[in-house]
Amino acid sequence: MDVVVTQVFNGLSGGSILLLAALGLALTFGQMGVINMAHGEFIMAGAYTAYVTQNVLGSAGLSLVVSLPIAFAIGGALGVVLEAALLRRMYHRPLDTLLVTWGVSLVLQQLARDVFGTAGVDVPAPEWLGGPVEVLGFSFPRTRLFILLLAIAAFLALAAALRYTALGRRIRATVQNRPLAETSGISTRATDRLTFFIGSGLAGVAGVALTLMGSISPNLGTAYIVDAFLVVVVGGIGQIRGAVIAAFLLGVAQSWIEYSTTASIAKVLVFALIVAFLQVRPQGIFTVRTRSLA
């Protein structure tokens, strides 16, 4: 029983980390179809934002909360610059986008090395996130609970924004049928830019959360980018809720297989499961039905 509770929690927690890393990508890759290899570096930028904020403010408790919106803005700004400077010139050229954004990711990594140094830095967790919470004899690390809640909050906020706001309607309209959206008076250029801002901003938020878990170094993003793409592909392109289900499924699968085997074997098996799943269902868990001609 102990093991079941602990491992389910660890799986959900691993899933929430995957979800945070992949949520922004579900928007930019899933909705807009842009393969952004620099998404991982936006996560890294978020992590370094938390580091800088903490150094400026001093207090760990306050700075974690303050750095969330700042990281969202910085990640988003990076995304908008990337979109306006490069990506808008190569929509419908996925291979070029892949190469260009990979180049951008290398540039950003080197930039981080030059600014912050090659060695990792540390962002101490605030007091109120120290240690575990005891519930019915089980102990759950507070940092993991915080990330779980943050991931759920980020998902709910994004889902609500897409569903209920005017901007959300414009994004959905543009995704489903771009020419028709344009003829209805929607500026698809402005919508693209905003979508990219939100997607990249979410990467920044993920970066702040990841400072609680692991190392903050220039190659932080490379550790998450592949997993993030896997989540979006398994979830189904164009669907935010698909990413949520995929992230938690992968998280729980990883933690269970890892518990009964080893970490290396778990990675291989989860990957094999994904490949097998995509053979059966190449479109992912959910698919979008659109009236688009494309």
């Binding site: 090659t118 060695a119 540390d122 692991g214 190659n219 998450y224 990883q254 933690s255 970490a263």
Partner: protein, 411 residues
């Protein structure tokens, strides 16, 4: 046309090298004659470290301390009266590039010796290059042992100068059970084989053994297994960024060094900052050098290093071993009275250096050096403080031939 011109140039350089032969090695009949130029007032040496790629974080620090040693040796009059001229190459964290660049340093730059390498895979890739050219490599990092090439001098610890003393210390502290956590590659697997043999011979129970892929970031499951196993101590051979995730998880689950200490063999002063002092304070490490060693020699080394690279920099074991390696080479060359590889090899035995870690002595037979083992505890200041010392330098024994329990390991 350009290609032909390039070929011609290469040919000219090669023949120029050949023309400068001054000390053909009589014993190494198979090796091409050395092209080291000893006629001028300068002598070339090569530094081969990863200046780019994932290992750059660690290897840049080794490059810095090698540069400091070269500068100091030159200021003190050089080696055999010749100033050192450093040729630096980037191994780019790729074993194949290490091998190529080693070949270049030996054959086209004609350096007298090469200093560098970090990962065991880079060393293994360079080994045949140095053996076939009969050249010299000085390797500055602790490693898994079971190797002794006459063309390599190993100035970091072998297993009986780091891992076995760490186990001796734990046993002395009354630890009767261990949990092994490591990265999934050659060093941790070999180290754990030795640990298990030691444990079997000393009545220590191994409660678990877990490996994480290099770069693994989620340690929830592994740390949960560690907690549930309730061993007396954790022996940690994780490498790189994984340590950060591991120690954050360890603390987040409420585990403390008092309950279950973690002893690490790959975490030095450089890494403590990135892991976060809060997360690792009070945990143990095993090395042969710490910045806090309180001797005049070490104080001079630390001061010189900080003066050259900045007050906020720290010195660590591999850096000190690299610094020491250049001085040891100087000692060997001056004892031999020649830069010739065979002469240096013959003179190596018994060469000593008053290093920052204490006096070290070269073992001419296996080309390792006698070093004092130190167990350290990480303090609130982010530095490592000596907790226990082997008292005297331990003779290197890369094949563990003097330990009866290890008889099955070398095969």
């Amino acid at each position: 046309m350009i290609g032909a011109a390039a070929l011609l140039t290469v040919g000219l350089v090669l023949s120029a090298c050949g023309a400068r032969v001054d000390s053909a090695d009589p014993s190494g009949a198979a090796a091409a004659p050395s092209c080291v130029d000893t006629s001028g007032s300068e002598i070339k040496i090569g530094f081969l470290n990863s200046r780019s790629g994932t290992m750059a974080i660690s290897e840049n620090t080794v490059f810095d301390s090698l540069s400091l040693a070269a500068e100091q040796i030159n200021a003190a009059g050089g080696v055999l009266g010749k100033q050192l001229q450093v040729v630096a190459e980037d191994g780019a964290s790729e074993p194949t590039i290490f091998a190529e660049k080693a070949q270049k340093l030996i054959r086209s730059d004609c350096v007298a010796a090469v200093f560098g390498g970090w990962t065991s895979s880079s060393r293994k890739a360079m080994l045949p290059v140095f053996e076939s050219n009969n050249a010299l490599l000085f390797y500055p990092v602790q490693y898994e042992g079971l190797e002794a090439s006459k063309n390599i001098f190993y100035t970091g610890a072998t297993t009986n100068q780091q891992i076995i003393p760490a186990l001796d210390y734990l046993k002395e502290q009354g630890v009767t059970s261990l949990f092994l956590v490591g990265s999934d590659y050659v060093f941790p697997q070999t180290a754990n084989k030795i640990i298990k043999a030691y444990a079997a011979a000393n009545g220590i129970e191994i409660r678990g053994e877990e490996y994480a892929p290099l770069g693994h970031t989620d340690f929830a499951t592994i740390v949960a297994k560690v907690r549930d196993a309730g061993a007396g101590a954790v022996f940690n051979t994780l490498n790189g960024d994984s340590n950060v995730a591991f120690f954050k998880e360890y603390r987040n689950l409420g585990l403390t060094p008092e309950q279950m200490p973690v002893i690490s063999v790959s975490i030095a002063e450089e890494e403590v900052g990135g892991i976060g002092v809060d997360n690792i304070e009070g945990q143990l490490v095993a090395w042969n050098y710490y910045q806090t060693i309180d001797t005049p020699t070490n104080q001079r080394f630390v001061e010189a290093f900080k003066a050259k690279y900045g007050e906020n920099r720290v010195t660590s074991d591999p850096m000190e071993a690299a610094y020491t390696s250049l001085w040891l080479w100087k000692g060997m060359v001056e004892k031999a009275g020649s830069f010739d590889v065979a002469a240096v090899q013959a003179a190596a035995d018994g060469v000593t250096f008053d290093a920052p870690e204490g006096t070290v002595t070269v073992n001419g037979e296996n080309h390792h050096i006698a070093k004092t083992a130190l167990i350290g505890r990480i303090g609130a200041d982010g530095l490592i403080h000596t907790e226990w010392s082997s008292g005297e330098p331990i003779e290197p024994d890369p094949y563990l031939t003097t330990y009866p329990w290890a008889s099955g390991l070398a095969s």
